[in-house]
Protein backbone atom coordinates (compact mmCIF):
# COMPACT_ATOMS: atom_id res chain seq x y z
CA UNK A 1 0.00 0.00 0.00
CA UNK A 2 2.36 2.75 -1.09
CA UNK A 3 1.50 6.29 -0.15
CA UNK A 4 0.38 8.95 -2.60
CA UNK A 5 -0.23 12.67 -2.25
CA UNK A 6 -3.33 14.72 -3.03
CA UNK A 7 -1.69 17.57 -4.92
CA UNK A 8 -4.39 20.12 -4.16
CA UNK A 9 -4.10 19.46 -0.42
CA UNK A 10 -0.30 19.41 -0.11
CA UNK A 11 1.40 22.74 0.54
CA UNK A 12 4.94 21.41 0.28
CA UNK A 13 5.83 22.00 3.95
CA UNK A 14 8.20 19.03 4.12
CA UNK A 15 6.99 17.31 7.34
CA UNK A 16 6.75 14.02 5.40
CA UNK A 17 10.20 14.54 3.88
CA UNK A 18 11.65 14.87 7.38
CA UNK A 19 9.88 11.92 8.91
CA UNK A 20 10.04 9.25 6.19
CA UNK A 21 12.29 6.46 7.51
CA UNK A 22 12.96 5.28 3.95
CA UNK A 23 13.80 8.78 2.71
CA UNK A 24 11.44 8.26 -0.22
CA UNK A 25 9.15 11.23 0.38
CA UNK A 26 10.63 14.07 -1.63
CA UNK A 27 9.51 17.39 -3.03
CA UNK A 28 8.56 17.12 -6.68
CA UNK A 29 10.84 19.01 -9.05
CA UNK A 30 7.96 20.13 -11.24
CA UNK A 31 5.20 21.08 -8.82
CA UNK A 32 6.99 21.58 -5.46
CA UNK A 33 4.59 19.19 -3.77
CA UNK A 34 5.43 16.05 -1.83
CA UNK A 35 5.83 12.86 -3.84
CA UNK A 36 6.68 9.27 -3.04
CA UNK A 37 9.65 8.69 -5.34
CA UNK A 38 9.84 4.91 -4.78
CA UNK A 39 6.40 3.44 -4.10
CA UNK A 40 7.81 -0.11 -4.21
CA UNK A 41 10.18 0.75 -1.35
CA UNK A 42 7.38 2.11 0.86
CA UNK A 43 6.60 -0.23 3.74
CA UNK A 44 3.38 1.57 4.70
CA UNK A 45 4.58 2.71 8.11
CA UNK A 46 2.05 5.57 7.90
CA UNK A 47 4.62 7.97 9.41
CA UNK A 48 4.11 10.53 6.65
CA UNK A 49 0.33 10.02 6.63
CA UNK A 50 0.18 10.81 10.36
CA UNK A 51 2.71 13.64 10.18
CA UNK A 52 1.01 15.51 7.34
CA UNK A 53 -0.73 18.55 8.85
CA UNK A 54 -2.84 18.96 5.71
CA UNK A 55 -4.03 15.32 5.57
CA UNK A 56 -2.72 15.33 2.03
CA UNK A 57 -1.21 11.82 2.09
CA UNK A 58 -3.17 8.62 1.70
CA UNK A 59 -2.35 4.95 1.22
CA UNK A 60 -3.53 3.04 -1.81
CA UNK A 61 -4.38 -0.59 -1.18
CA UNK A 62 -3.28 -3.25 -3.62
CA UNK A 63 -6.39 -4.49 -5.40
CA UNK A 64 -5.79 -8.17 -4.55
CA UNK A 65 -6.35 -7.76 -0.83
CA UNK A 66 -7.95 -4.33 -0.42
CA UNK A 67 -10.64 -4.03 -3.08
CA UNK A 68 -11.50 -0.70 -4.64
CA UNK A 69 -13.81 1.44 -2.61
CA UNK A 70 -12.20 0.94 0.79
CA UNK A 71 -10.52 3.69 2.77
CA UNK A 72 -8.19 3.80 5.79
CA UNK A 73 -7.55 7.33 6.98
CA UNK A 74 -5.97 8.68 10.12
CA UNK A 75 -5.90 11.95 12.02
CA UNK A 76 -3.05 12.44 14.48
CA UNK A 77 -4.04 15.36 16.67
CA UNK A 78 -0.99 16.50 18.60
CA UNK A 79 -2.87 19.25 20.43
CA UNK A 80 -5.29 16.75 21.93
CA UNK A 81 -2.77 13.94 22.14
CA UNK A 82 -5.06 11.57 20.23
CA UNK A 83 -4.94 9.49 17.12
CA UNK A 84 -8.18 8.67 15.30
CA UNK A 85 -8.72 6.12 12.55
CA UNK A 86 -11.69 5.89 10.19
CA UNK A 87 -11.94 2.67 8.23
CA UNK A 88 -14.50 2.34 5.49
CA UNK A 89 -15.17 -1.06 3.96
CA UNK A 90 -16.24 -1.64 0.43
CA UNK A 91 -19.74 -2.67 1.55
CA UNK A 92 -20.22 0.63 3.38
CA UNK A 93 -19.40 -0.64 6.88
CA UNK A 94 -17.53 1.98 8.81
CA UNK A 95 -15.36 1.65 11.92
CA UNK A 96 -13.94 4.49 13.97
CA UNK A 97 -11.16 4.23 16.54
CA UNK A 98 -9.78 6.83 18.90
CA UNK A 99 -6.69 6.28 21.08
CA UNK A 100 -4.16 8.31 23.01
CA UNK A 101 -0.96 8.76 21.01
CA UNK A 102 1.24 7.45 23.79
CA UNK A 103 0.94 6.14 27.34
CA UNK A 104 4.09 7.97 28.39
CA UNK A 105 3.65 11.35 30.05
CA UNK A 106 3.82 14.11 27.46
CA UNK A 107 7.12 15.88 27.08
CA UNK A 108 9.24 13.05 28.47
CA UNK A 109 10.26 11.35 25.24
CA UNK A 110 11.02 14.05 22.70
CA UNK A 111 14.13 13.03 20.76
CA UNK A 112 15.14 16.61 19.79
CA UNK A 113 16.46 15.43 16.45
CA UNK A 114 16.52 19.01 15.23
CA UNK A 115 19.41 19.68 17.60
CA UNK A 116 21.55 16.97 15.99
CA UNK A 117 24.25 18.26 13.65
CA UNK A 118 23.63 18.14 9.91
CA UNK A 119 25.05 15.07 8.15
CA UNK A 120 28.40 15.47 6.41
CA UNK A 121 28.83 14.67 2.72
CA UNK A 122 30.53 11.40 3.69
CA UNK A 123 27.48 10.41 5.77
CA UNK A 124 25.12 11.35 2.94
CA UNK A 125 27.03 9.15 0.50
CA UNK A 126 27.18 6.23 2.94
CA UNK A 127 24.79 3.25 2.88
CA UNK A 128 24.38 3.49 6.67
CA UNK A 129 21.26 5.02 8.20
CA UNK A 130 21.16 7.71 10.89
CA UNK A 131 23.16 6.70 13.99
CA UNK A 132 24.40 3.46 12.43
CA UNK A 133 26.52 1.69 13.53
CA UNK A 134 26.65 3.65 16.79
CA UNK A 135 23.30 2.52 18.20
CA UNK A 136 23.13 -1.00 16.80
CA UNK A 137 26.71 -1.53 18.02
CA UNK A 138 27.51 -4.12 15.38
CA UNK A 139 31.10 -2.95 15.63
CA UNK A 140 31.12 -2.85 19.43
CA UNK A 141 30.00 -6.04 21.14
CA UNK A 142 27.13 -6.95 18.83
CA UNK A 143 23.45 -6.05 18.80
CA UNK A 144 21.95 -4.48 21.92
CA UNK A 145 19.49 -6.75 23.65
CA UNK A 146 17.56 -6.66 26.89
CA UNK A 147 19.76 -9.40 28.28
CA UNK A 148 22.96 -7.63 27.33
CA UNK A 149 21.66 -4.51 29.07
CA UNK A 150 20.70 -6.55 32.17
CA UNK A 151 16.99 -5.94 31.67
CA UNK A 152 13.94 -8.22 31.69
CA UNK A 153 10.78 -8.00 29.61
CA UNK A 154 7.77 -7.16 31.73
CA UNK A 155 4.17 -7.75 30.73
CA UNK A 156 1.66 -4.94 30.34
CA UNK A 157 1.91 -1.17 30.20
CA UNK A 158 4.11 0.36 32.85
CA UNK A 159 6.09 3.51 33.52
Amino acid sequence: MPTFVYMTRCDGCGQCVDICPSDIMHIDKTYRRAVNIEPNMCWECYSCVKACPMHAIDCRGYADFAPLGHSVRVDRDEQRGTIAWRIKFRNGTEKNFLSPITTKPWGTAIPKLADAPAPSQEMRDSQLLYNEPKWIRMDDGGLRTLEAAGLKLKKGVYY
Partner: protein
Protein backbone atom coordinates in the same frame (compact mmCIF):
# COMPACT_ATOMS: atom_id res chain seq x y z
CA UNK B 1 12.80 58.17 -7.47
CA UNK B 2 10.10 56.80 -5.19
CA UNK B 3 7.46 59.23 -6.36
CA UNK B 4 8.04 59.38 -10.13
CA UNK B 5 6.35 57.13 -12.66
CA UNK B 6 9.16 55.18 -14.39
CA UNK B 7 6.88 54.27 -17.30
CA UNK B 8 6.04 57.93 -18.00
CA UNK B 9 9.75 58.67 -18.52
CA UNK B 10 10.00 55.60 -20.76
CA UNK B 11 7.35 57.10 -23.08
CA UNK B 12 10.10 59.23 -24.66
CA UNK B 13 11.65 56.03 -26.12
CA UNK B 14 8.71 53.64 -26.37
CA UNK B 15 5.21 54.68 -27.36
CA UNK B 16 2.60 54.32 -24.56
CA UNK B 17 0.46 52.33 -27.02
CA UNK B 18 3.22 49.71 -27.32
CA UNK B 19 3.54 49.47 -23.52
CA UNK B 20 -0.23 49.16 -23.13
CA UNK B 21 -0.37 46.49 -25.83
CA UNK B 22 2.38 44.56 -23.99
CA UNK B 23 0.36 44.66 -20.75
CA UNK B 24 -2.78 43.43 -22.55
CA UNK B 25 -0.79 40.63 -24.23
CA UNK B 26 0.53 39.54 -20.80
CA UNK B 27 -3.02 39.46 -19.39
CA UNK B 28 -4.18 37.39 -22.38
CA UNK B 29 -1.24 35.01 -21.91
CA UNK B 30 -2.14 34.48 -18.23
CA UNK B 31 -5.79 33.78 -19.08
CA UNK B 32 -4.88 31.46 -21.97
CA UNK B 33 -2.17 29.72 -19.95
CA UNK B 34 -4.52 29.14 -17.04
CA UNK B 35 -7.25 27.74 -19.28
CA UNK B 36 -4.70 25.47 -20.96
CA UNK B 37 -3.49 24.35 -17.52
CA UNK B 38 -7.05 23.57 -16.40
CA UNK B 39 -7.76 21.53 -19.53
CA UNK B 40 -4.36 19.83 -19.62
CA UNK B 41 -4.36 18.71 -15.98
CA UNK B 42 -8.12 18.10 -15.90
CA UNK B 43 -8.33 20.08 -12.66
CA UNK B 44 -11.84 21.38 -13.33
CA UNK B 45 -13.01 17.86 -14.21
CA UNK B 46 -11.37 16.53 -11.00
CA UNK B 47 -12.94 19.31 -8.94
CA UNK B 48 -16.51 18.67 -10.15
CA UNK B 49 -16.05 14.89 -9.95
CA UNK B 50 -14.97 15.25 -6.32
CA UNK B 51 -17.76 17.70 -5.67
CA UNK B 52 -20.45 15.27 -6.92
CA UNK B 53 -18.90 12.36 -5.03
CA UNK B 54 -18.70 14.34 -1.80
CA UNK B 55 -22.31 15.55 -2.22
CA UNK B 56 -23.61 12.02 -2.85
CA UNK B 57 -21.77 10.51 0.13
CA UNK B 58 -22.33 13.36 2.56
CA UNK B 59 -24.24 12.55 5.75
CA UNK B 60 -25.52 16.10 5.86
CA UNK B 61 -26.77 18.26 3.02
CA UNK B 62 -25.30 21.73 2.78
CA UNK B 63 -27.80 24.47 1.98
CA UNK B 64 -27.34 27.61 -0.10
CA UNK B 65 -26.86 29.87 2.93
CA UNK B 66 -24.23 27.59 4.40
CA UNK B 67 -22.47 27.38 1.04
CA UNK B 68 -22.37 31.16 0.93
CA UNK B 69 -20.92 31.26 4.44
CA UNK B 70 -18.28 28.69 3.44
CA UNK B 71 -17.43 30.74 0.35
CA UNK B 72 -16.93 33.83 2.55
CA UNK B 73 -14.78 31.84 5.01
CA UNK B 74 -12.69 30.50 2.13
CA UNK B 75 -12.20 33.99 0.71
CA UNK B 76 -11.32 35.59 4.06
CA UNK B 77 -9.33 32.82 5.77
CA UNK B 78 -7.86 30.68 2.99
CA UNK B 79 -7.33 33.30 0.29
CA UNK B 80 -6.85 36.70 1.95
CA UNK B 81 -5.02 35.34 5.01
CA UNK B 82 -3.34 32.29 3.35
CA UNK B 83 -4.96 30.19 6.07
CA UNK B 84 -4.15 26.83 4.49
CA UNK B 85 -0.44 27.04 5.30
CA UNK B 86 0.55 24.92 8.28
CA UNK B 87 3.97 26.54 8.65
CA UNK B 88 3.87 30.08 10.04
CA UNK B 89 7.07 31.18 8.27
CA UNK B 90 5.76 29.97 4.92
CA UNK B 91 2.46 31.69 5.58
CA UNK B 92 4.09 35.05 6.34
CA UNK B 93 6.39 34.72 3.33
CA UNK B 94 3.40 33.89 1.12
CA UNK B 95 1.39 36.84 2.46
CA UNK B 96 4.29 39.21 1.79
CA UNK B 97 4.67 37.86 -1.75
CA UNK B 98 0.94 37.76 -2.49
CA UNK B 99 0.04 41.28 -1.33
CA UNK B 100 3.28 42.64 -2.77
CA UNK B 101 2.54 41.08 -6.16
CA UNK B 102 -1.04 42.37 -6.21
CA UNK B 103 0.09 45.92 -5.34
CA UNK B 104 2.97 45.75 -7.83
CA UNK B 105 0.82 44.50 -10.73
CA UNK B 106 -2.05 46.93 -10.13
CA UNK B 107 0.33 49.87 -9.76
CA UNK B 108 2.17 48.84 -12.96
CA UNK B 109 -1.08 48.66 -14.94
CA UNK B 110 -2.28 52.02 -13.58
CA UNK B 111 1.03 53.76 -14.34
CA UNK B 112 1.29 52.28 -17.85
CA UNK B 113 -2.27 53.29 -18.78
CA UNK B 114 -2.20 56.68 -17.04
CA UNK B 115 1.10 58.54 -17.34
CA UNK B 116 -0.27 61.26 -15.06
CA UNK B 117 -1.07 58.82 -12.23
CA UNK B 118 -0.36 60.33 -8.80
CA UNK B 119 2.85 59.76 -6.85
CA UNK B 120 0.98 57.34 -4.60
CA UNK B 121 0.96 54.77 -7.42
CA UNK B 122 4.73 54.96 -7.79
CA UNK B 123 5.07 54.52 -4.03
CA UNK B 124 2.70 51.54 -4.08
CA UNK B 125 4.73 50.06 -6.97
CA UNK B 126 7.92 50.30 -4.92
CA UNK B 127 6.23 49.02 -1.77
CA UNK B 128 4.72 46.05 -3.65
CA UNK B 129 8.04 45.22 -5.29
CA UNK B 130 9.93 45.34 -1.99
CA UNK B 131 7.30 43.12 -0.31
CA UNK B 132 7.66 40.55 -3.12
CA UNK B 133 11.44 40.62 -2.71
CA UNK B 134 11.22 40.25 1.09
CA UNK B 135 8.83 37.28 0.94
CA UNK B 136 10.38 35.71 -2.15
CA UNK B 137 14.04 35.81 -1.15
CA UNK B 138 13.19 34.64 2.38
CA UNK B 139 11.39 31.66 0.85
CA UNK B 140 14.08 30.95 -1.75
CA UNK B 141 17.08 31.02 0.57
CA UNK B 142 15.66 29.91 3.93
CA UNK B 143 12.31 28.11 3.69
CA UNK B 144 12.49 25.96 0.55
CA UNK B 145 12.28 22.24 1.34
CA UNK B 146 14.47 19.47 -0.05
CA UNK B 147 17.46 21.60 -0.88
CA UNK B 148 20.02 21.18 1.87
CA UNK B 149 18.37 17.95 3.03
CA UNK B 150 19.41 16.37 -0.25
CA UNK B 151 22.76 18.14 -0.35
CA UNK B 152 21.66 20.39 -3.25
CA UNK B 153 23.03 23.86 -3.78
CA UNK B 154 20.81 26.71 -2.55
CA UNK B 155 21.08 28.04 -6.10
CA UNK B 156 19.86 24.81 -7.74
CA UNK B 157 17.15 25.59 -10.29
CA UNK B 158 14.44 23.08 -11.27
CA UNK B 159 11.11 23.50 -13.06
CA UNK B 160 9.25 23.96 -9.77
CA UNK B 161 11.32 27.11 -9.28
CA UNK B 162 10.22 28.70 -12.57
CA UNK B 163 7.45 30.77 -10.96
CA UNK B 164 9.38 32.06 -7.95
CA UNK B 165 12.57 32.72 -9.91
CA UNK B 166 10.86 34.53 -12.78
CA UNK B 167 8.76 36.52 -10.29
CA UNK B 168 11.81 37.56 -8.26
CA UNK B 169 13.83 38.28 -11.39
CA UNK B 170 11.03 40.38 -12.88
CA UNK B 171 10.45 42.42 -9.71
CA UNK B 172 14.14 42.80 -8.78
CA UNK B 173 15.11 43.86 -12.30
CA UNK B 174 12.09 46.21 -12.46
CA UNK B 175 13.13 47.93 -9.24
CA UNK B 176 16.79 48.01 -10.28
CA UNK B 177 15.81 49.49 -13.66
CA UNK B 178 13.72 52.23 -11.99
CA UNK B 179 16.46 52.91 -9.42
CA UNK B 180 19.01 53.27 -12.22
CA UNK B 181 16.92 56.04 -13.78
CA UNK B 182 14.70 54.06 -16.18
CA UNK B 183 15.03 54.40 -19.95
CA UNK B 184 15.92 51.72 -22.48
CA UNK B 185 19.02 49.66 -21.73
CA UNK B 186 20.30 46.27 -20.63
CA UNK B 187 18.37 46.35 -17.33
CA UNK B 188 15.16 47.19 -19.16
CA UNK B 189 15.72 44.34 -21.63
CA UNK B 190 16.30 41.84 -18.82
CA UNK B 191 13.26 43.19 -16.93
CA UNK B 192 11.02 42.64 -19.97
CA UNK B 193 12.53 39.20 -20.59
CA UNK B 194 11.90 38.06 -16.97
CA UNK B 195 8.38 39.54 -17.01
CA UNK B 196 7.55 37.78 -20.27
CA UNK B 197 8.83 34.45 -18.88
CA UNK B 198 6.71 34.97 -15.73
CA UNK B 199 3.44 35.60 -17.57
CA UNK B 200 4.02 33.46 -20.66
CA UNK B 201 5.27 30.51 -18.59
CA UNK B 202 1.93 29.86 -16.88
CA UNK B 203 1.43 26.37 -18.42
CA UNK B 204 4.86 25.27 -17.13
CA UNK B 205 4.96 27.09 -13.80
CA UNK B 206 2.74 27.09 -10.72
CA UNK B 207 1.35 30.54 -11.57
CA UNK B 208 -2.17 29.15 -11.93
CA UNK B 209 -2.22 28.00 -8.26
CA UNK B 210 -3.82 31.35 -7.46
CA UNK B 211 -6.91 30.15 -9.34
CA UNK B 212 -7.22 26.48 -8.40
CA UNK B 213 -6.08 26.67 -4.76
CA UNK B 214 -9.14 28.67 -3.63
CA UNK B 215 -11.40 26.13 -5.41
CA UNK B 216 -9.65 23.27 -3.60
CA UNK B 217 -9.93 25.09 -0.25
CA UNK B 218 -13.65 25.67 -0.84
CA UNK B 219 -14.22 22.01 -1.70
CA UNK B 220 -12.35 20.96 1.46
CA UNK B 221 -14.50 23.19 3.67
CA UNK B 222 -17.68 21.86 2.03
CA UNK B 223 -16.51 18.27 2.65
CA UNK B 224 -16.13 19.09 6.36
CA UNK B 225 -19.58 20.72 6.42
CA UNK B 226 -21.28 17.68 4.84
CA UNK B 227 -19.22 15.37 7.08
CA UNK B 228 -17.49 13.36 4.36
CA UNK B 229 -14.17 15.05 5.33
CA UNK B 230 -12.38 13.16 2.56
CA UNK B 231 -12.99 9.97 4.60
CA UNK B 232 -11.04 11.41 7.55
CA UNK B 233 -12.22 10.64 11.09
CA UNK B 234 -14.23 13.21 13.01
CA UNK B 235 -12.26 15.51 15.32
CA UNK B 236 -11.64 13.93 18.72
CA UNK B 237 -13.88 15.16 21.55
CA UNK B 238 -10.93 15.50 23.92
CA UNK B 239 -9.68 18.70 25.54
CA UNK B 240 -6.54 20.25 24.11
CA UNK B 241 -4.48 19.61 27.22
CA UNK B 242 -2.77 16.28 26.64
CA UNK B 243 -0.87 17.18 23.54
CA UNK B 244 2.04 19.37 22.53
CA UNK B 245 2.39 21.92 19.79
CA UNK B 246 3.54 20.43 16.51
CA UNK B 247 7.23 21.12 15.89
CA UNK B 248 8.38 22.73 12.67
CA UNK B 249 10.51 20.65 10.30
CA UNK B 250 14.16 21.58 10.12
CA UNK B 251 15.28 20.34 6.68
CA UNK B 252 18.93 20.37 7.49
Amino acid sequence: MLTSNPFAALAASISPAVMQTYVVVMIVLVVAGTLFDVVHKGSAKYFFQNWRKSKAKGAKSVGGGELMSIAVQTAVVDVLASGEFCNLRRRISHLLGMYGFVLYVIATVVMVFDAAAGAIWAQLWWLGGLLVCAGGYWFWFFIRVDVLAEGHSPLRFVRADLFIVSLLASVTLGLAWAAAGGGVGVLFGLYILATTVLFAGVPWSKFSHMFYKPAAAFEKRVSYANETRGNLPAPADRPEKFGIARGQPRHY
